[in-house]
Symmetry: C2
Amino acid sequence: MSGVTGIPTATISRLVTYLRILEGLEAQDVARTSSTDLAVLAGVTAFQVRKDLAYFGRFGTRGLGYTVPILKRELLRVLGLNQTWNVVIVGVGRLGQAIANYPGARDYQFQYVGLFDVNPALIGTGVRGLTVRHTDELRDFVGSTRVDMGFLAVPPERAQDAAQSLADAGVRGILNFAPVVIQPRTVERSGLQEIGDEWRGVIVENVDFLAGMKRLAFYVLNPDLSTTGPEEIEE
Amino acid sequence: MSGVTGIPTATISRLVTYLRILEGLEAQDVARTSSTDLAVLAGVTAFQVRKDLAYFGRFGTRGLGYTVPILKRELLRVLGLNQTWNVVIVGVGRLGQAIANYPGARDYQFQYVGLFDVNPALIGTGVRGLTVRHTDELRDFVGSTRVDMGFLAVPPERAQDAAQSLADAGVRGILNFAPVVIQPRTVERSGLQEIGDEWRGVIVENVDFLAGMKRLAFYVLNPDLSTTGPEEIEE
DNA sequence: CCTTGTGAAAAATTTCACAGCG
DNA sequence: CGCTGTGAAATTTTTCACAAGG
């Protein structure tokens, strides 16, 4: 859609933050905002805000700033949140269930369409109106239902296999909650054939609670090394 | 401890990954490894591994590589994971309880010493052997018990206040699970005095599931913009 | 001969100054 | 005048080539 290239991944994270802020402003009926406002609320510089937005277009009016609903709409579009996303959850233990029940996902047209696990005790039970199926059925399921992403909430030792199953089934994006690096290539594993070249093009994003905890430990011990955002937020 | 400065935050994230990999290697009784091995397993370049480690010392032997237990021990030390961390959880709803029950935190001497919430229905109940207290008691609690970090698992609209409570109580690190930017400065809030200058020096790390989901949406839509790690991992 | 550790080069990202336009 | 949008400068981070050392 946009032929743009070389956009920092940090920019994408910040766009998500700006969007959240705009939703807050809209909820308070604020009509207009500026790069400086957004910068204060996001904890970055106003330069950064403008540069981030400039990668995707011109959304403001010189001399006036940004119209909240317009900028919000544009960010929704840029991030792909103005469309429906069908999601399966693989791993329906405590974490998987917490994810399924976490409020806020539905606000963005994220719909859980399937739950999968290998634990016989869980299969057949219902969580949020969906029946838990065996992970072996993933492939058939994806064949008959559109699935845009998979959330991986299995124990670490099963994460690579489960990711492989998702990729083989044709799922294009994986949100990995397991504290493991998912290998995009088929890593040599004793005697196994190289399966699933569908790997090419599968995106993996990680959400890692344990890693966050450890990073925090480091920065509490070395506060001088932490990035506490810019000193000056105004230009 | 280390007078080193200017260490990329990305380096700290990668150190956490290397540590995890080393623990896996140790569990498989692998005695030695190399920057190339670690690079493959971490999905980065070998240059990167060596540079990351070099910020903190010389842990390898030229010609031989790294001794797994030694490098692991050094990374534990660097990250501050060879000591006990006392943690309180603020917000004991579904998410807070999932965090309290998540396995793996205890492996690193992270100990939950207190649970806090404002919901009367929860106060007094027990979760994992701890009694849930009212958040108002946080300050007294921190006065009598050492608390090194607080995990913030409250609804977004309460996150800033709860973070303020933690900071006022003297907690140095906050792991924020709420999809909100915690303001390190006391932002103008209708009529309230500027309280809690303890803010200076409080570290905030974020673990944001919804943001991960949205980033994934973007990259699934724009796969060409995703950083799929290096093409070549070998030197 | 192998693999680390590191100064220097290259690339990416952020900061900045100001032109552009309502 | 005010605030955005952006090319250029400054800074940060990564990549690289190779010296150092077992």
